[in-house]
């Protein structure tokens, strides 16, 4: 068990355990997502044709905002009580520990959004096929949001007004994921097939999985100096 990935597993376990003991945070982020998505029909009107058209974008933007909500607390509590410094000083790979925290964040913030998205899609009158593609795109895309978001969370750690600043830094970088994620359903409806969009999304996921934990670690070390 004491393999290379041991620090990674321990970090995931610890963060999930902490999250499980503060269940309200998960539930709050999830309901925030549900409410934001449900506000859109109220603002735009109940026309099913229009709703079907905006559904992928609406759900994706809801997912972006829900991810942002949890990101502020990704490193802040550990930074406040000194755990993060101990992690940085530990002989274990700091990058793996950080990667574990990011995965735990996705399980807590991203996965519930993916699971509830088909239900919300039904409210927007999406077909079964579109629902499936939307869910797959969110499954591929929400980890990207957590990974890129972690870089922003590390850069703004302990900074004045970090919440608003985090959004300003991170939201422009989310644009490719948003475009390919929300575009997958639309491409399928247009008869172009969604494989291209989903493949690009998967490619973004691979690239960000490779780079983001490392960049986050560098940014955290700057913040801890």
């Amino acid at each position: 068990m004491n393999g290379l990935l041991y620090p990674f597993q321990q970090s995931v376990r610890r963060d999930l355990l902490l999250a499980a003991r503060h269940k309200t945070e998960i539930v709050t982020a999830l309901f925030f997502f549900v409410i934001v998505v449900n506000l859109l029909p109220l603002g735009i009107g109940p026309d099913p044709d229009l709703l079907r058209k905006i559904a992928p974008g609406a759900l994706w933007i809801g997912a972006l905002l829900a991810t942002l909500l949890g990101l502020q607390r990704l490193f802040a509590p550990d930074h406040a009580d000194g755990t993060l410094e101990q992690m940085a000083l530990s002989p274990q790979s700091f990058t793996l520990l950080v990667a574990g925290k990011i995965l735990a964040h996705w399980v807590v913030a991203g996965l519930p959004v993916v699971l509830i998205a088909p239900v919300l899609g039904l409210q927007f009158d999406l077909s079964g096929r579109s629902l499936l593609i939307l869910t797959v795109s969110l499954l591929l895309g929400t980890p990207i949001l957590s990974l890129i978001g972690a870089v922003g969370a590390a850069l703004t750690l302990g900074v004045r007004g970090s919440g608003a600043l985090l959004s300003l830094l991170i939201l422009p970088l989310y644009i490719p994921a948003l475009i390919f994620g929300a575009g997958a359903v639309e491409a399928d409806l247009a008869g172009l097939g969604s494989e291209g969009h989903l493949s690009l999304l998967a490619a973004l996921l691979v690239v960000s999985t490779f780079f983001a934990p490392w960049v986050t670690t560098v940014a955290l070390r700057v913040a801890l100096e």
């Binding site: 703004t156 560098v218 700057v222 913040a223």
Partner: protein, 247 residues
Amino acid sequence: MNHSLVNWFKFASPASFYPLVGRLIPFFATAAAILTIAGLWVGLVVAPTDAQQGEGYRIIFVHVPASWMSMFIYCVMAFWAALGLAFNTRLSGMMTSALAPTGALFAFLSLWTGALWGKPMWGAWWVWDARLTSQLILFFLYLGFIALQAAIDDPRRADKAGAILALVGVINVPIIYFSVQWWNTLHQGASVSMTKAPSMAHTMLLGMLLMALAFWAYTIAVALMRVRCIILERELTSGWVKKNAME
């Protein structure tokens, strides 16, 4: 032995960079003024009226160089950021933060002149064209960089955090550009092509080049002035600044 290398590192120190820059600024400022006057004269007086676009096209003499500069400055910022992270030089971070406001200014100028040009030509202030959208995102990236640096009190940390952000941004710029382009072709929205006429009159090209050079000189002059201010702010307690201020 290697004299050029020694010289470069000599000017990496703010104390020796400061007077050098002081001598360079008047040169670039004068060049910027002369080139702007020449470029505007060629662009507004000499260049012929465009057959299709009338007089309105003349805004490209500001618009195109501003767009070039806004993209180029981001690359230069990323260059200084990488240098700062690699060699841990203080001056690199100062250069990065000195360039950012000028880059944001040019990105905004490019969007604004683009809107002014788009209204008579396309009949709309704004279309969701790939280039317009990615320019807007570039503007947001500049704002994010400036906001991050402004929010961090410790200048060394601000430099490093800004450097990381600039590098992440420069990797993302091409990804964003291509994704926006594909998004646009998928939507089939405003199918406006911004490709210029292939045979541009020589005077038009000359005017644009002069303006581009003028913007270069302006950027260098302003960035160097700003970096002098930053150096003075940060090195306030060091001996050479006190001596300099006494003079």
